[in-house]
Every structure is written in C-alpha cells, then in structure tokens.
Symmetry: C2
Subunit: 465 residues, 2 copies
C-alpha cells in the first residue's frame, strides 16, 4: 500500500474504498424505501447550525472542501456492497442501484473560513432525492468537525492580538482524522504552526516544537539537558523551564544563551508549562533581560484556552507565544454544534418539519451580508435562493458543484486562511468578545417568511390528514 | 487501492504508511538530541490519567489494542523520511537511524474494558529511551480517545438498567476515526448496536436504524410515508412519530401495525425524537396498547445522555430503547482526560518531575485490586512493579509485548465486552452514581512512597546543581 491512502485520507476520504459506508444505517433503509416507492424527485437539503452554543458568538465554516471531495468521489465499492448484502436487509434491486450510484447533484456553499451564524446554510445540495439523502451523514460529519475546531481556534486568534500561536493538541484530539483536521482548522483561522508532523506534511503547515519534561529528567542535571539540546539545535532550541523550578532554570537558560551567542548562535526561547504563568513570565523575562538575552522569546503552555490567553495578556504578562492544545482541539467548552442537514424542498414543493423547537426554514436559501462604512459586519438576511442581492450586500453561498462536477480547483489553504483573516477582521466589537458575544442571527426576509407560512398551512391541511 | 487501507485504519494505523508521523515534532527533536549525546539507556514510561474530571467516578480503559498494533508496526517509511529530510532540521545520521528504527521494547498493560482510576497505569513501556520516547504521542492518542468514549458510554449502560442502547452519534463525532472508535467503545461497554455502517463492517457490531424526518416530509401525507416504510421493511420498521404531531402519529402507527399484522408481519417500533419524552412515551404506549400493539417498542432519542436516561426511567417512562448520539460520542461533559505518558525510570534510576500539581510517581508500577466478599471492588493499591501480589488481590497489568512482539493474539471484541461487563458489575454503589461518584483513587504502597521520597531527595541534590 502506498501513500495514496494517507493522502486521500488527509484531503478527504476518497482513498478509503469504503468511505460511502461512513453512513447511518437509516440513510440506506430510507433510500431503499424511496426507490421501491418511486419517490425520486429533485430535493434540496440545507446544512446549517440550529442554535449556537452559549460559548460562541459566531462560527467559522470549515470542512466544506472535504465534503465536496467526498461528494465527487461518492460510490459504493464492491466490498461495501458485499457487506451490505451480507446484512440481509436489502433487496437485490436496491443493491444493484447502489452499485451504479454517483452524486450527480449541484452544491452551493459558503467559502471555508467564512463567519456564519445560526440558521445560515453552510452548504445546500440539490439533486435526486436518494443521492442527496444518502450523503447526509458524511456531509454533516466533515463540516461539523472542522467548523467546531475552526470556531474554537478563531477565539484564540482574537484573544492573542497578534502573538504567535502554536497548535499542540494532537495527543488528546479525538483520533487521527480529528488531529489532522484540528491542525488545518487552527491554521485556517490564523494559528502560526502545529506540532503535528503528519499535518505539516499533509497540509504544508509550519511545524514547531520544544522539549518535554522527560528530556530534562533523562539527564542527571537539568543543565546537562539544556546544553545537550542547545548543541543539537543551536539556532532553534526552546528550553522547558518548569521540570523542577522555573526561576532557577531561567538562570541556567541565560548561561546556555550566552554559550550559544559566543559561538554565533542564538537561543530561540524558553517555555513555561505550569504554575502562575503571569508571575513566572515576568520573573523569567527580567532574568533573561538582565542576563543580556532580550531576544529570547517566552512561550507558555499547559492546558490553556482563549480565556487564559486573554487573561495573561490583560495582566501584561510578557509572553511572545502560546502553545494551545487539548482544550482547542476537542473544543472543550462546546465539543459539538447543533448542525443538521434538512430536506427543505422536494419536487417543487417546500418541505418543513414542525417538531417542537426544531422547525426548519423552507426552500433553497441564500445569506445576504451587509457591511458598514468601516467594512464591519452589519447584519445578515436569510433569504430565498432566488431573491435578488440587495444593494450593498454580498451573497455568501455560491455554486461550487454542478451535476456532480466541481466548478473550480480546490482552493489552497493559504488562500482560505487569508479569506478567514478578512472575515475575523470584519467582526464588530460585540462579536469579538469571548463571553456574552452578541450572537447575531440572520433575520429572515419577507419572502422567506411568506413561503414558510404557506408551507406550514399546506402541511397542516395535507400532511396530517 | 484496496480495502486493506481501511481495514488497517480501522483496527489500527498500520496500513497508513505515514503512521509514524502521527507525532509531535518535539519527540523527534528530543530523539535527535538523545542520539547525538548517546543518552540511550533503558527507559520506562507510564501511561495514566492524572486526575479524573469531576463528572467521572471511574474510567474504562480502552484503545490499548490499537496502541499495541501501532507499536508492533512502528517504522518510518521512505516517504516519511523524505518529508523529515525536507524540513532541514535533522542531521542525516539521525534520519538514517530512524530508517532502521523499530519498537523493540516490552509493554505491560491492563486489559481493555478494565475499570481504572487516577494515577493507575493503563500501560507501561520499557525499552531503549529513543523508541519509548518517540511513541509517546501515538500511545496517548490511541488510548485517550477510546478511554474517553468508553468511560462516557459505560455511564449510559449503568443508567439504562438493561434497556436496549443504540449508538447513533456518527455525524457529530470528531472525524472518521473517532466515529468508528465511538461505536467500538460503546459496544465494548455494553451498548447493543450502532447506526454506523462502517463500524458494523469493521468490528462486526450489530447495526440499527430507524428513519429521519426527511423521510416523512418527502411524502405528501405522513401516513403515506409510514406505509411506504412498512412495505419496504415489514418486519423491522421503526416509525418516527414527531415530524408534525407525536400523538396523532401514534394513531397512524397503530393502523400501520394492524395492516402489517394482517399480512403476518409486525411493526418493530416507534421513535420519539423531541418534546416531553416521558409524557409522550406514556401517551404513545397507551395508544399502542389500546390499539392492540403491546409488542411495538418505544425508542427515544434527541440529544440524550446518561442523565436523561436515568431521569426518564426514574419517572417510570415506558421506554424500551434509547438512541444515544452526540453527547456520548464527543463525551460532551468531559471531552478530554488528563492522560499523560511519563518517564518514570531510566538506566536503573528513578525519574520524576516536580512541576507544581504535576509530580509523577516514580518507577515501573503495578495496580493491586481487592474485591469484597460479594465480588465488588474494595480498593486499589498503586505499587511498584516488583512488589509481590498481596493475598486476595489481583494485579491489573500484565506483560503483553516483549521485545516488540505481541505475546498473544488480539482479543476479540466479544471477549473484551464480556470482561467489561464483569468490571461494571463489580462497581460498588458509590461508584455507580452518575453524580458525585466516590472517585476512588489508588493508595500508594509503602514501598512506592519510600522510593518516591528518595528520588525526590536525589533530584534536589543532583539535578538542580
């Protein structure tokens, strides 16, 4: 087996022969019943987040390119079909139908890195009902993960105010796939590097790393460990100071820095990983400066999240870089989003569900975004797809796939990162707050409200008979 | 590319040519410095959870078999080495060393499905320092994910008191890897089925599924959708009742059930996915029973976790089965554990770090577990590896790999599930509580305390010079 498997796994699931089985069983049973009954009209499904978690004022849409790649390569392999046959739940005619099935629909989507709010579609599919239904699980799966991660990462970017940010969370991320995607999502929103070597390879993200406590304790004396590391990496060494006593270790770091300088090299930095990081960073900065090492950077880590970053900087801690790990990568305060993929139109008829608290907006939709005179986000309208773009607004969704074919090459991560930076720069102060953010929600257009009301009446008259 | 890639991905990362790059950069820089300095003694690393989250009274160890498979196949591919070379951070001698590197150490581990507490090793590696250091990220990564998931899933198993449990969370799990592993971890702890078709195929877990709201709304009338589904699956149909009005739909379900019965078939169940599930389940049960359908099961779902399961059953809700999704699969209340992999011994010397709040126990260790007269867990001792097993206690860690070779075949998931059932049955009432569980912690042995104290003295005398 070559590296294609990994390449495909990284950029999308195409290389996995069984990727089409990344599906909830009910997608298949519903599809079988649709086929049997000839319910095969053109459907539109809308992917959106119903409600934002209280800890989020906005979301950063991500994972869409993986979803598109999945749709482009969607097919059931002979091996997958053999497994489905072995379940003895499906008629042979349905399995034969699956063997030839491809995704032939259209997709409209926002660009990855776009700021979105509750009810705003990240993506809509339009195509034959069975195809658009069958891809539900995977489309949510790909978009949910990275939207969770990017929405969390963007908060550290806002909090850090330009300081360097390194994503360090691989070891406690939920699996290999999520580890890679966390590095990508963090970089998308403005992180500078990752510790995840596989992500560096897969996405060409700059790598960074320091040393672990085990390195220090592997040597009889702390100073031996520092000198050994400096010998190995005379221009990029970052020394970890808190294995035994952070302040004492800072004095050793000064000695190491002087030794490196004498040889024409330079100690890159020191890392603090425990204790009172604000107080220790000040003490260590004073020691480094007094020792003639003002250029040695201070990096802090240790279970940090965006609130810690903001608090440390608000306290005036002289920190140059933050290593953010577990709480970013699992999105500890909001590990999931109420992201759904709902049927909104079928065979020319608007469709909705009325479940308490879960009513969905009908029809294919568009989001119109208005910016104020300073280029800041001033408000969104949730409109019907066919409504004209209002003067001065931009439409967030564009057609990216037609009849199963992508209309443009996959954007580079660098281009998406630049787009995301523009999106974050356009956030008004009320949305930049880490707590109690405004949580702006799109206002429905008049036309959408009218269509919703008539669909509701139709359902009450017909569906419940 | 064949299905081996997926098979390998599922059962472990071996088929991924670049799996060795599932690593934090600093593992490689430390290894390079160790090699350069000749610091290559025999090391012991210990994998454990420092503190349990407040929401957990115990953990279920899982993911260990994946970690072992990773260790067995650990190697840097030519492609991985080419990438590392391209970074221009490493000397050619180090890259040559990596090309030949395999994991040649020993591993002692608890069995998957074993209940463990804070500070208790799930796994310990002993072998050459560089090898045992380099696998840190991956070992944590594999064991952390499934231990998080299994520890969460076990709580639903305890809450459900024997009712049927289906894992439904694929779509909002953090990635493909985590989706598969969530299904496995849930089944390991006692869940009955998963909706994840790929997990069914990979792990031979029973599949279950019902229908989505889109199925109901795709038909002009709700009754049309129910009849269509019943025609397609006359012996296994579960009808979703809450698309428009749950109680009204229950009456339709009775009609469908009667129609099926007339043809010698049987409606399997109905699902409630929103609203007051306790009240609605009672109302629906009454309608079903009054309609002559006492055998039709009631399945509930909709953002449930173990607390909802317990509350519904405590309220006497007539529920036969629970579909548990997102909050299980992301372990919403505790999405990460403070799991670490720490150097505890090197070249015959005990090693520890003194970082505030993060001091580690020295030495290779063992956990001795005592059971009371009723077979219930009565207390654990955290001991040194070489201590004799106390009378009446069992040792939890056993040697499973020697010199890089597995000592026994991979246990079947069925065998591990049975082991886990025994572990959960042995939990005393204080540990079975969903809130404020006792959170028993292992008591250190006298010998361990003594060794710890002398290592602390040694560090203070020597390492800080």
């Amino acid at each position: 087996m070559g590296t294609d498997a990994l390449g495909g796994f990284v950029s999308g699931p195409l290389a996995l022969a069984d990727a089409a089985l990344l599906i909830d069983l009910y997608e298949l049973t519903m599809a079988a019943a649709f086929l049997r009954e000839g319910v095969t009209g053109t459907a539109t499904f809308s992917l959106f987040v119903r409600r934002l978690p209280p800890e989020r004022g906005f979301l950063v849409a991500a994972g869409l390119e993986d979803a598109l790649e999945f749709l482009r390569g969607f097919r059931f392999s002979a091996d997958a079909l053999a497994y489905l046959r072995s379940l003895r739940r499906f008629e042979p005619a349905f399995l034969d139908y699956l063997a030839d099935l491809r995704f032939t629909g259209d997709v409209r989507a926002v660009r990855e890195g776009t700021v979105v709010f509750a009810d705003e579609p990240l993506l809509e599919t339009t195509g034959p009902l069975i195809e658009t239904q069958l891809v539900e699980t995977a489309v949510i799966h790909f978009c949910h993960l990275q939207t969770v991660q990017a929405s969390k990462a963007a908060r550290s970017v806002l909090a850090a105010g330009g300081r360097t940010l390194a994503e360090f969370g691989l070891r406690r991320t939920h699996g290999m796939d999520a580890g890679l995607k966390a590095a990508r999502a963090a970089y998308l929103t403005g992180f500078d590097s990752t510790s995840d070597v596989l992500a560096g390879k897969a996405y060409d993200i700059p790598l960074s790393g320091t040393m672990a406590h085990s390195f220090v304790s592997a040597f009889p004396r702390e100073m031996d460990s520092f000198e050994a590391y400096a010998r190995a990496f005379p221009d990029s060494a970052v020394l970890l100071l808190d294995t035994y006593d952070t302040v004492a270790a800072a004095h050793l770091a000064v000695e190491v820095a002087r030794g490196l300088a004498a040889g024409g090299h330079r100690l890159a930095g020191v890392r603090l990983d425990s204790g009172d990081l604000a107080g220790l960073s000040r003490a260590v900065r004073r020691i480094l400066d007094a020792g003639g090492c003002p250029e040695v950077e201070i990096i802090v880590s240790g279970g940090l999240d965006e609130h810690d970053v903001a608090a440390l900087l608000a306290a005036g801690a002289p920190i140059d870089a933050f290593g953010i790990g577990t709480r970013l990568n699992v999105s500890a305060d909001a590990p999931s989003l109420d992201m759904v993929y709902k049927l909104v139109r079928l065979a020319g008829r608007d469709v909705l569900k009325l479940s308490p608290g879960k009513e969905t907006w009908v029809g294919g939709k568009q989001v119109f975004r208005r910016l104020d005179g300073e280029g800041r986000l001033a408000g969104d309208t949730l409109a019907l797809e066919e409504e004209p773009v209002p003067e001065g607004a931009v439409a967030l969704l564009e057609t990216v796939m037609r009849a199963g074919e992508l209309l443009r090459p996959r954007p580079t991560l660098a281009a998406l990162r630049e787009h995301c930076a523009g999106q974050l720069a356009a956030l008004p102060p009320g949305l930049r707050r880490l707590r109690d953010a405004a949580g702006d929600q799109a206002a429905p257009s008049e036309a959408l409200r009218a269509r919703q009301e008539s669909a509701r009446m139709w359902v009450k008259e017909r569906a419940l008979q």
